[in-house]
Symmetry: C3
Subunit: 321 residues, 3 copies
Amino acid sequence: MDLLSVLHFDELSHGLANLSMFPYFDMAHYIVSVMALREQPGALEVSRVSPLACWFSSMLFCFGGAVLSGIMLAEPPVAPLSNSTGVLLASVIWYLVFYCPMDLVYACASPLPLRLVLSGMKEVTRTWKVLGGVTQAHSKYKDGLLVMIAIGWARGAGGGLISNFEQLVRGVWKPETNELLKMSYPTKITLIGAVLFALQQTHYLPLQKHHLMFIYTVFIVVNKSRMMLTGSSTSPFATIESALYKTLFAGYSPYAALISEVKSACIDNSSMNKTTTTKESSENGSPGQETPTSPATGQSSSLEAKEESPNAAATNCKKTN
Amino acid sequence: MDLLSVLHFDELSHGLANLSMFPYFDMAHYIVSVMALREQPGALEVSRVSPLACWFSSMLFCFGGAVLSGIMLAEPPVAPLSNSTGVLLASVIWYLVFYCPMDLVYACASPLPLRLVLSGMKEVTRTWKVLGGVTQAHSKYKDGLLVMIAIGWARGAGGGLISNFEQLVRGVWKPETNELLKMSYPTKITLIGAVLFALQQTHYLPLQKHHLMFIYTVFIVVNKSRMMLTGSSTSPFATIESALYKTLFAGYSPYAALISEVKSACIDNSSMNKTTTTKESSENGSPGQETPTSPATGQSSSLEAKEESPNAAATNCKKTN
Amino acid sequence: MDLLSVLHFDELSHGLANLSMFPYFDMAHYIVSVMALREQPGALEVSRVSPLACWFSSMLFCFGGAVLSGIMLAEPPVAPLSNSTGVLLASVIWYLVFYCPMDLVYACASPLPLRLVLSGMKEVTRTWKVLGGVTQAHSKYKDGLLVMIAIGWARGAGGGLISNFEQLVRGVWKPETNELLKMSYPTKITLIGAVLFALQQTHYLPLQKHHLMFIYTVFIVVNKSRMMLTGSSTSPFATIESALYKTLFAGYSPYAALISEVKSACIDNSSMNKTTTTKESSENGSPGQETPTSPATGQSSSLEAKEESPNAAATNCKKTN
């Protein structure tokens, strides 16, 4: 019984590892990506004002990972453009999703059953992209575990990581948030995948590659489907994250307290309420609890008044790099 | 008669193709570019506060194309700096345009006759830059038509394409617009040139290279002169663009209508007037009619309320890449 | 006597040149860099909300020079990540400075005596980084003096030069200022070092490399200590800068005066006071006197009204690149 299930598992793993992403899985990835772009605030208006900006944004959504990992490895970021078939396919999908008469394509792909299937297929491509990035980095930096993780992560979640700049193409600029400050679920799951595949490549994780691919793919597909079916956006790692955070990163900082006293005395009532609230909420905040008033306020005047080191006289308050 | 004119055409084309851009045409390019920078709002003040930032901006105006195409092809963006003669010449011109006693140089180069000649010469360098970019991309990506177009475009209009970041050097940040959202005439004409030269390189366009160079150069010089003499800024392609846009990109989107109903109900009166106006104007907008209230408003709060997918419960509203 | 002191000088120079930066000097550099980050407004809050963003920021502070010079030379910006020992050491220091129970590490390293020693050691690493950058550029561009200066500068002061983007990681965006518009002391001293080492490499400066290293290192260490002990932030070059500026860059511009007349007539009273004040203060400003109302106001509406060329009818006011 055990041997049979192992054989099946092995067969399935090999089957999955030898699967070609082109054309169906890639198509699903493009469709889901372009639809996600379309659902961004303001994207439909951009599509009517500047089809070129809309097309460029869609290409960043579809190929953002390859572009970012290319930049990080000093390989031409235009390389994805040389994959003419892929770009052509993505462009056709972009045109149909945004400009199809009566929005036929968008209307057909939106309902949950088909969207579920497409999203599942997209998750399968995630495995390939992470693995591709890790392998590419491994060929250049044999022992660079961190480099492998970084490139695998960029390749798999590049579109999300460069979201600030993709939004800039559409004329939107939201500097107060980014994927590092507030990581979305896809970016988080890709980071975990990159870590696992990098550990496997460097033989720290005693698993065969096609087995890990199978396990990881099954996990992300099942989890994505669960989240779509239940409408929940809770990360499955929320409890682990919370525990890890409270242990490692939530220490009380006496100097921060000293600073907040100085701060309270320095700034006027109206902003004082806002800043002390921010300080308390961020000191108690954990990734599990969403702190909407994130510290990245972008209000340079109030921020300038905060956090003066007790040794400000002897050192530059500004960067002394 | 026909043969004679063909011979003349061929001679002229060869003559133009063998023309050296250095030093006179390059000089004209630097002068027009630095003067264009000087006429930017706030540039003169920057020149008085930080000559270094002003110089860096000028270099981006003069060599922006080479820098951008270098970044895209993973070649050192500092490479233009190694062309010491060019950089020295551009720096001398920068100094004279910004700091010449009594503004002699700027005063002499501003009047229309000389400006017309200099702009014409600058347009000639555009052909060389686009062709250089297309050729450079062709050597790396034999069949990459899109790559050739992208690199030719970047090389020829790079300064305009990176305008957001060039402005950042001067402390100006205008995320609500960029050359993709609202393409200026030089960027448009460069894109067309890049497409033509790329098609010629890959033999889709049955023209000899020096003939195409001649035709394209004559066209852009004549058009630029016409625009400067008449003071008009209407693109010669306005009718074609308008027709193309109405055919391909101006489809009515039922889902967008659904969304605007939801939107009207959700948001308060004051912002409702603004957003519905934006929606109507952008649905009717075409590149010919300038829509100043472009969709790229940058007002994240009102944008967040817009465009909720009917399946928002089942999918992430945010990017699900 | 003379010969003896020369021998001592030579011995000391050789000794310094053969000193290894790892691990003590590098450690000092990481400690001072991370502490400088911690003293940035809002950084402590970011550390509590997103340790990953905080870690990434710290790595940019510690390795920013290597990243920036890598980007400029089209070498992989992730290369610093492959230096696992360095990254591990910097990460441990990051963790201890931000999250040590009772802030022990920060409390111990803050007082002036130890901070002075650490800052002095950090200044020593600056020499190595500048020299490394100049040498690296020299190997690629034998005669590229400007390239050597640029790369040496980037390598030595990269963290400061990319400060806008490092702040973006923490959700802070201050486009109105950058290191080119308003150069901080470390960036200035690094630029001077890059120029000196580049001139030495190309034999324009008749000094031996290890002698120059010694002189430069002694100068920057002594100057940094003086500034920390006296609490002064006056650059030692203030008088030279001022003289250079007044000679070369402070010319009166008749066209600017013409423009300000037009400006006064065009804009309303409230903004007029602000803009005329800005214009006067920036025309009189020198790097020595800090002009807080820098021209980089970022107020696109008022800036649009400024600075219209007298030949606006014949030329595009906007970029005509």
